[in-house]
Symmetry: C2
Subunit: 313 residues, 2 copies
């Protein structure tokens, strides 16, 4: 059973690792948001791709969800000693990823090729596919003016209210051939519990992407990142609110209307079932908080069964 | 008393640190060879500049002479894990130097500007000046064919016989304004005990450099890197031999003929005095092996007094 998952960073990576655990090796492809990629000290950094890659390799930092477990920060400390601002916490081993990726891309390799090489070296059995090899940058409109995504997300600690989101470059960007092939060949498509506006939406907004997804007859299931009116991680709840959207699984479902066949929501949001079904989606209410590997595998399993059940109907 | 020293890597850096210790803060300028600079993973690496900078900052590794004391190698180990060859031993803190330098140079800063910034951040009181802001690359002719310098020096461990040396780019390269100003303003010029053919010669071979040096009326003293027919460090002895030159302080003196007024040689080479004086240079025979900071300061002091004595005559 071939599964194609769309994911952003930490939350998406968790479900992706659950999917990897319950599927046969090689049956999972994760299409990862690259709209928060940026350059720092001339190094090309892909936070979501790396979070997914490290998580699937089993080396991610369990405390933070991003970065590598047991990292040291000698390079970053030295950069600080040189007078640089060290707001983006790059570990020493993480630096190797960025140094090598940047070097390979300067030599003409695509982000897709570099990611495949790095993932393979880390023993990742699934295909980690950047959504595009073309640059897309998320720019946020806030009361402080326009902020680059990592400026908002890391440097300023998500403290600004977001009133608008621009995906710079999205019109010229295209999903890769590999991404399109993974979608058309999938028996199930899973939208991971990632931020719907800054993680999943950039993937969906790529020209040709919605057509590719809606052309597929595979069941499409989204796992809500909102539980009890709050984002499990990150600023999705505040973003949805400041963007004038409902901060609930129903609000997320509305954003995926016309695309998704079923929503996986948390048991504590059972009361939203009728509202989501009214949008035309099936609902699975279950324990959706992933605290450990067992939770991830169980939620992945239930999500896949939920999708398979919709096909049977 | 303003002193301008010409230096390569480890041996030159040692004497430079001795000179820094005995001079007033700010009175020392070190013009450093850049002909062994190279790029690795897209990072611009300046081995001699960094060795001098780290040594003058008091953070160099006393075991190796290069690199930073107490370094960790997490980034390099990870690059190896990614399948890269880790023949050039870049430490984690050292990586910060290369990352920042490369980034600044890509933004338009010169190597001279970047070096000044990094040196200042490390608290170096002397001026560390790359010999040129223009690229020069040392290419060695060996029985294995033509080898890039670091390929020969580090990757192949100096095991090849060197039959010829090309300084690629030297005709188009120029000493910087700062280098020329340091030379013309110097009260003494010191050629450090660095490899005469691959460390000092690239500096001297820069168009305009010999004219600048010979225009200066300051005493010019060279400290021989050959003691008892052997190089204290590195392959200078074998290189001189395979290039058909005499492996002795006299051989080094001949290479500096017409430029240098006095040679500092080791006491054990006292018998070479007459031969070197016959070339037209004064000779100081002393303990020239620098084992510790005291040795460095003493040798620096004696070298400067030797030079000053020549002016008095």
């Amino acid at each position: 059973m071939k599964v194609c998952a769309l994911a952003g960073g930490v939350g998406g990576a968790k479900l992706a690792s659950g999917l990897q655990d319950v599927l046969s090796p090689g049956d999972l492809t994760i299409v990862v948001n690259t709209a928060d990629d940026f350059d720092l000290w001339g190094l090309h950094i892909c936070p979501d791709v790396d979070t997914v890659m490290y998580t699937l390799a089993g080396i991610s930092n369990p405390e933070t969800g991003w970065g590598i477990a047991g990292e040291s920060f000698e390079t970053l400390n030295m950069l600080e000693h040189f007078g640089e601002e060290a707001w983006f916490k790059l570990g020493d081993r993480d630096f190797a990823t960025h140094v090598l990726r940047t070097s390979r891309m300067r030599s003409g390799e695509t982000l897709t090729e570099v990611t495949a090489r790095l993932s393979a070296a880390l023993g990742v059995e699934s295909a980690v596919l950047p959504m595009s090899d073309d640059p897309v940058a998320t720019v946020l409109e806030t009361q402080e003016g326009r902020l680059e995504f990592q400026e908002y997300f890391v440097r300023r600690g998500q403290r600004d209210e977001v009133f608008g989101i621009e995906l710079r470059g999205i019109e010229e960007a295209r999903p890769t051939e590999g991404v399109l092939a993974a979608i058309s060949g999938a028996d199930a498509i899973v939208l991971c519990p990632s931020n719907p506006v800054v993680s999943v939406r950039p993937i969906l907004a790529l020209p040709g992407m919605m057509e590719a997804l809606t052309s597929s007859s595979a069941p499409k299931v989204a796992v809500s990142p909102i539980v009890g009116g709050r984002a499990l991680k990150g600023p999705a709840d505040r973003m949805l609110a400041s963007l004038g959207r409902e901060v609930s699984s129903t609000g997320v479902a509305r954003m995926y209307e016309g695309l998704v066949d079923g929503m996986v929501i948390d048991r504590i949001d059972e009361r939203e079932r009728a509202g989501i079904e009214a949008i035309g989606m099936r609902v699975l209410a279950t324990e959706s908080v992933m605290r450990d590997a067992e939770d991830r595998a169980r939620l992945a399993s239930e999500t896949l069964e939920f999708g398979a059940g919709m096909v049977a109907h």
